[in-house]
Amino acid sequence: MKSKLFGTATIAALAFGLPAMAQTPIKIGFVSTFSGPQAAIGEDMRRSVELAKEHLGGKMGGRPFEIIYEDDQFKPDVGKQKSEKLVQQDKVNVIAGYIWSNVLLASLKTVTDEGDTILISSNAGPSQIAGELCNKNFFSTSWNNDQTPMAMGQYLQEKGVKSLYLMAGNYAAGKDMLAGVKRTFKGEIKGEDLTKWPDQLDFSAELAKVGTAKPDGIFIFYPGAHGVQFLQQYVQAGLKGKIPLYQVFSIDAITLPQQKELALGTLGAQEWVNDLPNEQNKKYVADFKKKHGVYPSYYGAQSYDSIMLIASAAEALKGDLSNKDKVRAEMKKANFKSLRGGFKYNTNQFPIQNFYIQEAVKDPEGMMTVKTIATAVKDGKDPYYEKCPMK
């Protein structure tokens, strides 16, 4: 019975040809972390993708679209497996998402080369993909890992901070982040620790070293749950008030509900902040807050942008995504209203964009959030694009 029905449907689809195709939905795969201690990040991204879908009225270029979410479980091997499934089994038009650089690096070839499918990174930006591994099928709506810490380092350099102690997780992104801050911060590096990633959440030994080294500041990269634990232990070790903390990706809308007042006054760098004064951002933040009662994070904003980037190409091509050369050419124009107020693509298909310094504060209702206090970098390019063979 079932197969008969299916057969009828197939014949109908064949008989009607094009009109049926116009109504088949565009398929978008979305890989992120939806379980375990980092699930809050994936949830923020999913909410933003759903909001983008709502704002688009469920259609791109006249065609309905569907999102297939897959959970990478915070593991590179699982991420690769799920990406493979999306390409081969679901035959998606585009894959977006990816929080973690190591998951993205493991999944990249499967999607862009073996699957010849366009991949949009909504967060991870490993230096390899910005440089020699750059790929015509790869687009970023975030940044290259080095850039955000570069903005932070530049700000600290200008502020006259003399020495820093650096800490990050020992994986692709952690190494890029520390390399990034060292590109722009020229003061003394009093110490540097790459901690076991992701299983080390106890930083007692490292914090004791920081206390002894007495730097002017600590620079950290500990996203999500790691940032929550780090900040608590930094405060417990009695370092708050003695050695200021500077961070990237470690104090944000994901972690603040748990970090609360401990985070107050801490500075960080970011390419998107919830108070950026453009119309589309105001609408996004207001609608997100109304729906979920919390602030969105840059993870969410970048995911929203990923969907809008696909939509911009679909609009231009009237919903026909079959010619990949045309889709790539349209995407490269970045012809959409990004929540960070528009950006251009560099030759390696990473954005050329501003970076801001933000501070953890309480909003008028008493909710913890971050606000922009300075522009650190204008139209910043990543330091790897010249190594990319694409021109």
Binding site: G36, E192, S204, A205, A208, Q232, Q233, G238
Partner: protein
């Protein structure tokens, strides 16, 4: 010198947590001859139950105290339903069954509390530092872990060495069939020992929770270390588990605190900082291999 003291304390704190986990494991392995891979699940359940109770009671201490009898009950139920059937089976079947139990508990937690991780805040009165020496601050919560861990270790030593139940435990560890023949209610003894092991694992889990957060599978990684500890210490020996846990705690800290600087003396800074975490992870296993070559039954193992 102060720095060294801080790092030694960090090692002791880690070692005591590991000891709590390893104590239960070495007892069940030594006395009941049961390989219990699901011991890490009891560690996880302790943390989750404490998280739930702390939410209900709005007090860390009260929630933690209530979580202990709860994990004891859980241990007894698990023993009665599953473990009791495994004593007569061989080790391979025990490994299979208790591995199944790990999957069961991970899934159970997912169903009850959802896939996202939880975090337990350090209680306000411990969210500060204590001066262990004048001018040497140490996080109060970690100091509390050391105190509680040391008290439990002393309590356990007293229980095993000085009480009737301890006598039976020791007798059970050296010859199970004989104490059964002497008319001791072995079933009850096994149930009690398993429950006791569950309480220690749960206590370790809930004390570690404010540092490492509560998550599915949190016991799986640390269980491997607990096995390393009981192998180094000698299976069935509480004293061995204690000594080995202290050694492993110190090795871990040495690997994190001193190895990077040592490597920098002959490697480039970036190579040293990425090699150090990898080497320190391996260091513990090298020590285990060394101990096994020197003493195949572990430091305090009695069997030949």
């Amino acid at each position: 010198m102060d720095y060294l003291l801080l790092q030694v304390l960090n090692g002791v704190q880690l070692g005591l947590l590991m000891f709590l986990l390893a104590a239960g494991l070495t007892l069940t392995f030594g006395i009941m001859d049961l390989v219990n891979l699901a011991h890490g699940s009891l560690y996880m359940m302790g943390a989750y139950i404490a998280w739930m109770l702390i939410g209900w009671t709005d007090s860390f201490v009260l929630g933690a105290l209530l979580a202990l009898p709860a994990t004891f009950l859980l241990g007894i139920v698990v023993e009665a339903i599953v473990m009791r059937r495994l004593y007569v089976r061989d080790h391979l079947e025990q490994v299979l069954a208790t591995f199944g139990l790990i999957l069961f508990f991970n899934e159970l937690v997912r169903v009850i509390w959802g896939p996202a991780g939880k975090s337990i805040a350090v209680p306000a009165f411990l969210n500060r530092t204590v001066e262990i020496l004048p001018g040497v601050p140490y996080p109060a919560y970690r100091f509390a872990i050391i105190v509680v861990g040391a008290l439990v270790a002393i309590l356990l030593a007293w229980l095993v060495a000085r009480t009737r139940i301890g006598m039976l435990i020791r007798a059970g560890a050296s010859n199970r069939r004989m104490i059964g023949a002497l008319g001791v209610n072995i079933e009850l003894l096994f149930t009690l020992v398993f429950g006791l092991g569950a309480v220690f694992a749960g206590l370790a889990g809930l004390m570690a929770a404010p540092i490492t957060s509560v998550k599915i599978g949190m016991g799986d990684d640390i269980l491997i270390l607990a096995f390393v500890i009981i192998v180094i210490g000698g299976i069935g020996s509480i004293k061995g588990a204690f000594v080995a846990a202290m050694v492993v705690g110190q090795i871990d800290i040495v690997g994190r605190a001193f190895l990077p600087d040592f490597l920098k003396t002959f490697l480039s800074a970036s190579a040293a900082s990425s090699a150090a975490p990898a080497i320190s992870q391996v260091l513990i296993y090298i020590v285990m291999a060394g101990v096994l070559v020197w003493r195949p039954t572990g430091l305090f193992g009695q069997r030949t």
